[in-house]
Amino acid sequence: MFATLSDRLADTFKNLRGKGRLSDADVDATAREIRVALLEADVALPVVKQFVGAVRERARGAEVSQALNPAQQVIKIVDEELVNILGGETRRLRFAKTPPTVIMLAGLQGSGKTTLAAKLALWLKDQGASPLLVAADLQRPNAVNQLQVNGERAGVKVFAPEPGNGVGDPVAVARASVEEARRTLHDVVIVDTAGRLGVDSELMQQAADIRDAVRPDEVLFVVDAMIGQDAVNTAQAFLDGVGYDGVVLTKLDGDARGGAALSIASVTGKPVMFASAGEKLTDFDLFHPDRMASRILDMGDMLTLIEQAEKTFDQEQAAKAAAKLSGQGGDFTLDDFLEQMQAIRKMGSLSKIMGMLPGMGQFRDQLENFDEREIDRIQAIIQSMTPGERANPKLIDGSRRARISKGSGTQVSDVNQLVDRFFEARKMMLSMARGGGMGGGPGMPGMPGMPGMGGKRSKAKQAPKKAKAKRVSGNPAKRAAQERAATQKGQDQANGGNPFGVPADSEKPNPADFELPAEFSKYLPRK
């Protein structure tokens, strides 16, 4: 895991605290950091140079800002520039006046064209169109087959007159497909072509021939989000060879930072139109430039985190756990703890998730050293307990402890530690929950009892929350009043006692109104 840009910049500016304006030397130091950060994110070098130049210009003339320190100020500039390039133009698919609309896909081998064809077809179908998939990839063994299976899954008709595996003429197939679509009254034709390299002039010519044969309304360039510096060459080669109107970024569900999006958008000026993120046919959507910006910079991406959480969490379960935490619906037991832990694990590696939380950057080192298998051990210990013990860990005495440690293959002291820590953690969470947000009580009563953690970790938990508490109300008296009101009204509601200090006066917080601290909210889409 590399240090994020914000960490690096914070480091650069460590000695400059209190300085309002950026000197030339500061700007140069910053420019270097931005350059490295962008290169690590696979943004192509010429684009990096141009971009850094632009940022440097703006940073030099930047106004002294009251609200932001120099690092934040620079990041804001970088972020804005990124969104500018990425989101310069958002465009919808162009549909032909007289159907069928022809969409052609082109790209390197293995960028995900065939899968994408089916996803696009499904997406269009859901919007009321009636697409026809055309198997014009006759090169790769069984590509035709793959498209047929995918088409079937999407419930879309596939036109595949040739068996493929090197047999047949893709240009003829493409030409015939448009006729076929007219005959069978399909209003969109999606032509899947074989993967080809930008340097292969013969195959590029073939792609151009296919294009001339079907005269597509949209040519989409499909590119893998993992692509590195070669993105510009390839993008340019395809632009010269076939020409395209939009870009589709695939495999965005991986952890590549996707600098290619920036490179291509900035070199070719063609907008990224769609993003494909997942193996299911429904994992396909329009592209969000602002999120991509945060991703390239590897900033905490709360929005993605929330979305992921939404996908993986069982809402009922989470609600139950939350209720328990706030003191209703029984105790928060080790069983609940285990459930939550497993749900979290489903979202991906823990260090990744923690990395997505803003403000965690300072614990990067600890996160990096963290062994995910520790979680497995904790799980093993809990699973070695009887249901009774899980519900009431106080039961656990010496002999039970010995049994549990044997069952889980750990030491007795590990079991001990786990139980102790669980109690402490629970106490802490309870007190947080009761506090109705951190504004309520100064300090966290549970915290001193967390041995071995050092004050640092507690700060990690505290810092973002404090910022939020401020948003409740600047006026302490008013806040106290709000809290009192909330306690009276909403004791039976779990969200009244939310540990994260949402404005207490909103009884039923609407997700749309949910406010993040200032540092995060700027990474969210602006309304």
């Binding site: 290169l39 690590e40 994110a41 696979d42 192509a44 070098l45 390197l108 081998q109 293995g110 960028s111 069984n142 087959n145 793959q146 047929q148 299976v149 390299l197 930008g198 893998d224 993992m226 692509i227 590195g228 070669d230 993105a231 060459n233 390839t234 080669a237 495999k251 991986g254 952890d255 590549a256 600098g259 997942g278 193996e279 299911k280 929330i306 959480a309 969490f313 809402q315 989470a318 756990a321 939350a322 939550q340 489903k346 979202m347 991906g348 590696s349 823990l350 939380l357 963290f370 062994d371 979680i375 497995d376 590990d414 530690q417 820590r421 669980f422 953690a425 802490m428 970790r457 994260f500």
Partner: protein, 373 residues
């Protein structure tokens, strides 16, 4: 009501879990989590052992693949098409009379655009700088210096042989892994041809039961050279298919079993666990001799993360660098080799069936620099 809030509470709980994990010290168990893991994606639940079909290997006209030896030399043209710019560009820059800051920056840029990565680039440039300064620009044959340093970069000392011979009465087993779309199935197909050319008995295992038509693709590859492919039905448990493949290999007294797996992104915990399971299950019958990670030459810095995660899960023993015939340089393998010590063993240089070559550092570097004038 406030669904998000509950989710965030959940995250808080995870935070606590992490804290507990961080402070709990003790013996680390090296074994991966057992099969109790919950699948993240909506992959079909692993079914019970499906009837595995064994394809009839008898096809009338079998192709005769050409031997692997010397392939890299034959493919040198193609290699220098993609890589030539890199080596020759560096050579031209270093041969300048006067090496000023701008030149060094250009050298750095050349390496960066080859996806070598920031850290590796800086190291190489620093070493070149020192050597050029010590020897005096123009005095030493620049070509020689560059050749040595580049060779150093690809590290010729690593063992690059493919260790897939039959031993102890069981076939050698190679597992091919990687993220989606890097060319795993194609690599397995081509590798089978290489082995057939060396007169070895090969059995293919189509453990990619997820992607539509992946098993057919592999079977097609196998049929061309008369190699049987063991396959399960789509959506069946890949570990069971791999197990069957190895069993078939043992029964038929084959020399090598090549197992193709489904592409998986390294950040999908469930899928990575599944891969770990495939390896564990196979090892019940015979040790896995080679785990080949297929990396696409176009991959950027994410390749490093891929290599790291895959190594953690299945202990990668070698890298196959594919699609090197394009304009991409595949410089990321330099970083991977440096940091993880996993050598590049094979390179894919084109769409032709016999365009997979063993990696030879010296021939590779020579192709980079082009012919001496």
């Amino acid at each position: 009501m406030g669904d998000y809030l509950y989710l965030i509470i959940g995250i808080a709980v995870a935070g606590v879990a992490l804290l507990v994990g961080l402070v709990t010290t003790g013996v680390r168990r090296s074994r991966r989590r057992a099969a109790s893991s919950v699948d993240v994606l909506s992959r079909p639940e692993p079914g019970v052992d499906e009837e595995d079909r064994l394809r009839d290997p008898s096809t009338p006209t079998l192709e005769r693949p050409e031997p692997a030896a010397g392939r890299l030399v034959r493919l040198r043209d193609r290699l220098s098409r993609s890589q030539g710019g890199l080596g020759r560009g560096l050579l031209a820059l270093l041969s300048r009379d006067h090496l000023d800051e701008q030149t060094w920056e250009d050298i750095e840029d050349t390496l960066l655009t080859a996806d070598v990565g920031v850290a590796a680039t800086q190291e190489l440039v620093d070493r070149l700088r020192t050597r050029m300064r010590v020897q005096g620009a123009g005095a030493a044959p620049v070509r020689q210096v560059l050749r040595e340093e580049l060779l150093n970069l690809v590290d010729p000392s690593l063992d690059r042989s493919l260790n897939v011979s039959r031993s102890n009465g069981v076939p050698g087993i190679a597992l091919v892994v990687g993220v989606n779309g890097t060319g795993k199935t194609t690599t397995v197909g081509k590798l089978a041809r290489v082995l057939v050319a060396e007169d070895r008995q090969v059995v293919l295992g189509a453990a990619d039961t997820f992607r539509a038509a992946a098993a057919e693709q592999l079977t097609t590859w196998g049929e061309r050279v008369g190699v049987p492919a063991v396959r399960g039905s789509e959506g069946s448990d890949p570990a069971s298919v791999a197990f069957e493949a190895v069993r078939t290999g043992v029964e038929q007294e084959a020399d090598v079993v090549l197992i193709d797996t489904a592409g998986r992104l390294q950040n999908k915990t469930g899928l990575m666990d599944e891969l770990g399971k495939v390896k564990r299950v196979v090892e019940k019958q015979a040790p896995v001799n080679e785990v080949l990670l297929v990396l696409d030459a176009t991959t950027g810095q994410n390749g490093m993360i891929q290599a790291r995660v895959f190594r953690e899960v299945v202990d990668v023993t070698g890298i196959v660098l594919t699609k090197l015939d394009g304009s991409a340089k595949g410089g990321i393998v330099v970083a991977v080799q440096r940091e993880l010590g996993v050598p590049v063993k094979l390179v894919g240089l084109g769409e032709g069936a016999d365009d997979l070559a063993p990696f030879d550092p010296e021939a590779f570097v020579d192709a980079l620099l082009g012919d001496p004038v």
